[in-house]
Symmetry: C2
Subunit: 348 residues, 2 copies
């Protein structure tokens, strides 16, 4: 920068002025400076700028698991929003190494990140973490909320989505339903459960009659769920499985394939998320679409608003994006005559 000033015969401040037009400067001089910048191939040193301004034009993104396409899409949305504002995104995928709350707080402070987009994973400790984080700097949450602690957040309308898909399943005639849920601490798990239950209640089915498996959102956990819920092949076996995400529904598919159960003839399956594969499974997975990329995008924008002081930080600001029921082949009316028991009857 010194060189630039010299090359343009101006002082350092003048250069600084034109670079951030933070001060008035004559046309001629400005041109000279710009020229010098180009000629010398000058690139401002962001580290110095940060040190001086305390702001980094950089946000952090905490995401549990990039191999889950839903999360990956949220990440893309965040990146995209950041990019459109020339901000950087530093990626934190805690899955690999175990990071402590302290780690993130230090990250936020020591790197002088402007803020954090926080997409809580499956584990616990989210509350403490969020608390500590929000204290250390601006934080907005995506896809999840934490009860009792209101940071701004953008979520999808899980509850209504869950209600819709459950109603769809019920309206097909299913009455023996089981739920493959997510980690109990999560707001989304709770919301979707609530949505399911609303629908169930509408059909006068008491919660006690609805088995509930607690999964962890991963495929393998869906397989375990199916193994447990579909094990007994008696008349009590559920005819439909409501899964709180597509990955676990895929796990159910896997189990069914291995167990020789047909979808949807033997059991109907419903998912949540509408990740790409949902449409490619056979049969296609009936699910609820969440606008993943959009959620990430909005979340980042919200964060920038908070950072720029356009929103009150401690406001209980929550953006709820609409979900959409996607009907495909994995849900059909139940076929009682395909159940083992009746089959025996026929055989007799």
């Amino acid at each position: 920068m010194k060189d630039v000033a010299q090359h343009a015969n101006v002082s350092l401040s003048t250069v600084s002025y034109v670079l951030n037009d933070s001060g008035p400067v004559g046309k001629a001089r400005r041109a000279r400076v710009l020229d010098a910048v180009r000629v010398l191939g000058y690139t401002p040193n962001e580290s110095a700028r940060r040190l001086r301004t305390k702001s980094a034009a950089t946000i952090g993104l905490i995401v549990p698991d990039l191999s889950n396409q839903f999360f990956a899409l949220v990440a893309e949305g965040v990146e995209s929003a950041a990019a459109s504002r020339d901000a950087l995104v530093v990626l934190c995928a805690p899955e690999a190494i175990d990071r402590t709350t302290e780690y993130y707080v230090r990250l936020l402070r020591s790197q002088s990140l402007d803020g954090l987009v926080y997409l809580p994973g499956g584990d616990g400790m989210t509350l403490n973490l969020a608390l500590a984080l929000a204290e250390a700097g601006p934080v907005v949450m995506v896809d999840e909320r934490i009860r009792g602690f209101d940071v701004p957040s953008v979520v999808a309308d899980s509850r209504s989505g869950a209600r819709q898909i459950a109603e769809h399943v019920l309206s097909q005639g299913h009455r023996r339903i089981a739920i493959v849920g997510g980690p109990e601490a999560l707001w989304t798990s709770e919301q979707r459960l609530a949505g399911y239950r609303e629908a169930l209640a509408g059909f006068r089915i008491p919660p006690k009659d609805v088995p509930h498996f607690v999964g962890d959102h991963r495929e393998e956990s869906g397989t375990r769920a199916a193994a447990q819920l579909l094990a007994e092949s008696g008349a009590d076996r559920p005819t439909a499985l409501l899964c709180v995400n597509d990955l676990m529904a895929m796990g159910v598919y896997r189990y069914c394939r291995e167990a020789g159960l047909r979808i949807p003839e033997d059991v109907s399956v419903a998912g949540f998320d509408d990740i790409t594969v949902a449409g490619l499974l056979s049969p296609g997975l009936t699910t609820v679409r969440q606008p993943a990329r959009e959620m990430g995008f909005q979340a980042a924008n919200l964060l920038f608003d908070v950072i720029d002081g356009r929103e009150a930080t401690d406001d209980e600001m929550v953006l709820t994006l609409p979900t959409e029921l996607i009907r495909r082949g994995s849900v059909s009316p139940p076929h009682p005559d395909d159940d083992e028991a009746p089959v025996q009857g026929i055989g007799a």
Copy 2:
């Protein structure tokens, strides 16, 4: 830090010394400093440190598309390696906004990133970009290489993987094969093509007899490929499709489903990557597994080696990880009697 020094009754240099043990310091004083750090909750200012040391403990990751699970896994690997060395990863997903070569160069320089892991996408301009980048700082490539310009890179053994899967298909009896390729500029496309051709040559099938569609690695492109390659239902219609990645194979599945073609009865399909969904499709997709996470991990480690001067930067250092053929249901012997023409014959 000043506060810490004061609280511990030592000078700033002493504090600095204990914090990076970059100098000898008495036990008592060291203890006092550490204590003060804890009490005051001191967090070093990384911006200042960077300014001073010119090193950021931060690398950049350029990745084309996070919604492709293969890329997402590579990203996870990179993140994981970085995390284990307490380094940060800034994410760049160029898909969203169009970034110029210049942008990345400036990124590398102005943010004083220590280096870049570069995973080229589908588009062109990779050569110029890589050139400019490598000039601006340490760069290692993952999954791809650029001919004529040797930066260190870690790749999977695409060629041998492609040969294996093609041989598998051929050994099932297929002779009318078509290829769903990737962007022609990419090294992987070329390698896989070469692998296919080696196998084909082994079975005395001239390249001219093998239709070749140029895709872009995205699912939709696979659908188009299938539409084109499988359009004519005559005796010339290929009985097997070799796809250079799973996403496009999924596109083929989609086309087949909509066109009423059965897999593998009417057409066998082979993929590449072995992303999660490959095993969940019906029938399972026969494909070649690439160690995606491992590739990212190794790439980041290689980058750190280069940064730390443990490897010659301009060395043609390339790490080739093994691939593995995964046989599932999407490839079976051809069923000539299922072809339309013979069917007519039978009907007559």
